[in-house]
Every structure is written in C-alpha cells, then in structure tokens.
C-alpha cells in the first residue's frame, strides 16, 4: 500500500497564522483561493 501523500494543513485564520509566524520566525504563505478549504 503506497504511503499517503502529505497534505498542506491550511489555517483559515490569518490572525492566528500571523501569531504562529511571529512565534516560529517564519513567513506566512497566504493562498487567496476561490475555493474554501
């Protein structure tokens, strides 16, 4: 059985994403999409 591909775990709150980015010293990748998660 093949290994399951890793999926992107989208956060739906930009505010939460910014807080996480500040804590982890990372950039935020914001995908503006026509489709909801």
């Amino acid at each position: 059985m093949p290994a399951q591909a890793e999926q992107i775990a989208w956060d739906t709150s930009l505010e939460h994403g910014r807080e996480l980015a500040a804590r982890e010293g990372k950039a935020v990748l914001i995908d503006f999409s026509a489709a909801p998660v």
Binding site: A5, E6, Q7, I8, A9, W10, D11, T12, S13, L14, G17, R18, E19, L20, A21, A22, E24, K26, A27, V28, L29, I30, D31, F32, S33, A34, A35, P36, V37
Partner: protein, 151 residues
C-alpha cells in the same frame, strides 16, 4: 492549484517546512482581498507576521515551478530581514536546482544583491550579474542587471 500543485507531496513538504500556511477564501474575505490587493486567483502572497508583503505569485504554476517561486519568496523574506547570507544560500539553491528556468534567472539576480549587501563588495554583485547575462541572456532579469553607463 488544488488539482495538481498543492496535492504534490514535494509542494506540501516544502510549504509546511518553511511557512505558516493560511488559506483565505476570496468570496468571504473581502477586507483581506482589499488589503492585499488581490484582483485575480490563483494569488499567493508571502508576508510576515506584521502583514508586510515580501513576494507574490500570480497564476497557475506546476509543482516544480511553484517550489522554485516559493523558494525565491523565502529568499526575499530573508533578504528583507537583512539575513543576507541565508538569503543568498536560498537563491543559490534555486539557481542550482532550476538553472534553465525563469526562476533560475531571477535567483541569479538576487544572489548578486544578497552577496553585495552582505559584503558591500561591488565585485560580488557584478560577478553574479555577469553570470546572469551569460547564462540567461534573453531573460528580463538579465536586462535588469545591465545598468547603462553614462556617455
């Protein structure tokens, strides 16, 4: 992007390792669409925790091209944070892995900038940009690297 690029495990691994990943649905997030000047999708913005935009990717890209541009965006993020050596290393990886692409040319341009900013040595800029003009003579990045001299 949801059909081909995002499901690719290489994209998922790269995005998850280097970024906090947030999806904004344009139809229900008009204020953010206005704030980030999103007129068309796909539209991927690389921003910092204060909302400042460091890089933008518009339109569909294949998994390989998308990883290259995410890596460029990461390099620009590091460059803007004045982490010049780390930024140069990121751009060099793009130039090495995506040598014969537009992203490779863009990376070669920014290698010169990052190495110059780190060293204040103009020779570091010129050697990188000379390589850019030699390896990608028809790219817009090569044109940007050819500063006209005064007559």
């Amino acid at each position: 992007m949801d059909t081909v690029t995002y499901p690719d495990p290489r994209v998922a691994e790269f995005a998850s390792s280097h970024f906090v990943t947030v999806r904004v649905t344009v139809k229900t997030s008009r204020a953010l669409v206005e704030e980030y000047l999103v007129s068309w999708t796909p539209n991927v913005v690389i921003a910092d925790d204060r909302g400042r935009v460091h890089y933008r990717i518009e339109g569909f890209l294949s998994p390989d091209d998308f990883i290259a541009h995410l890596s460029l965006g990461l390099g620009r993020f590091l460059l803007d944070r004045r982490q010049f050596d780390e930024a140069a290393e990121r751009f060099e990886e793009v130039a090495r892995r995506h040598h014969n692409t537009d992203a490779g040319a863009e990376a070669q341009y920014w290698i010169g900038v990052a190495r110059y900013k780190a060293s204040h040595d103009p020779a570091r800029l010129h050697s990188s940009w000379d390589g850019l003009v030699r390896d990608h003579p028809h790219s817009e990045w090569a044109r940007k690297a050819q500063i006209p001299s005064k007559t």
